[in-house]
Amino acid sequence: MNLRRDVFQAIADPTRRAILLLVAAQSMTAGAIAAKFDTARPTVSKHLQILTECELLEQEQNGREIYYHINAKKMKEVADFIEPFRQMWDDRFNKLESIMKKYKTK
């Protein structure tokens, strides 16, 4: 079996996407991540292993704990990682612009 996991296969799974969402918001330990799911802990561990193998997640030792965090570089390969952030600002600025046009002196 090929251990080099395909990134697209990794994010095809809804639980793994949910894990990415959680970790994107905050670096977390395996225990803290597992606590958010009804799934058995070994299943969550397996998901974390897959996400780490394909480098979407990175591990960081902090004292006795291992924290998982998002590997932004790798995420960029999957999709244009920054595009949703840009879109959010673009929407906000579009709204600002249309509101301010009403304040233009007629």
Partner: protein, 160 residues
Amino acid sequence: MEQKTKINAGDGKQDLTITRTFDLPVELLFRAYAEPDIIEQWMSNPYSTTKILKFETASHGGYQLESRDAGGKVVFRANGAIHEFDPNRKIIRTFEMEGTPYGVQLEVYQFERLTEDTSKLNMHVIYESVAQRDQVLALPFAQGINMAHNRLEEIVSKQK
């Protein structure tokens, strides 16, 4: 077509820039950042209403705002200190979402007149660390994949 809003976020850096051109005179663009009732308008959306709780634009002043969902529940509160407030030119302030792990960010806003009726905003945002910047950058992406997934689930469950 050229995009009006541009993001520049270099790998391994703890800052980013957001630039945007507006079909607005620079005075009107600046007003959008200077008057609380106007800020409330453009920061609100169909899902949440933003209210400015405190707004002192003098140098070394501060501000605080909150967003509530349709049910009146507070979604988030943010605050910051204003370091410099130079009408139609520049704002330097901090921004911090209360009770979140994203830390405090330093924001430098430069307002630039392009023509009589157009202007440009250049935002330079500096985070506490590379990791914090990447987290903030990843949020809309992560929310996006989650929303896409929820929609997919909805479609699939309807077909059952």
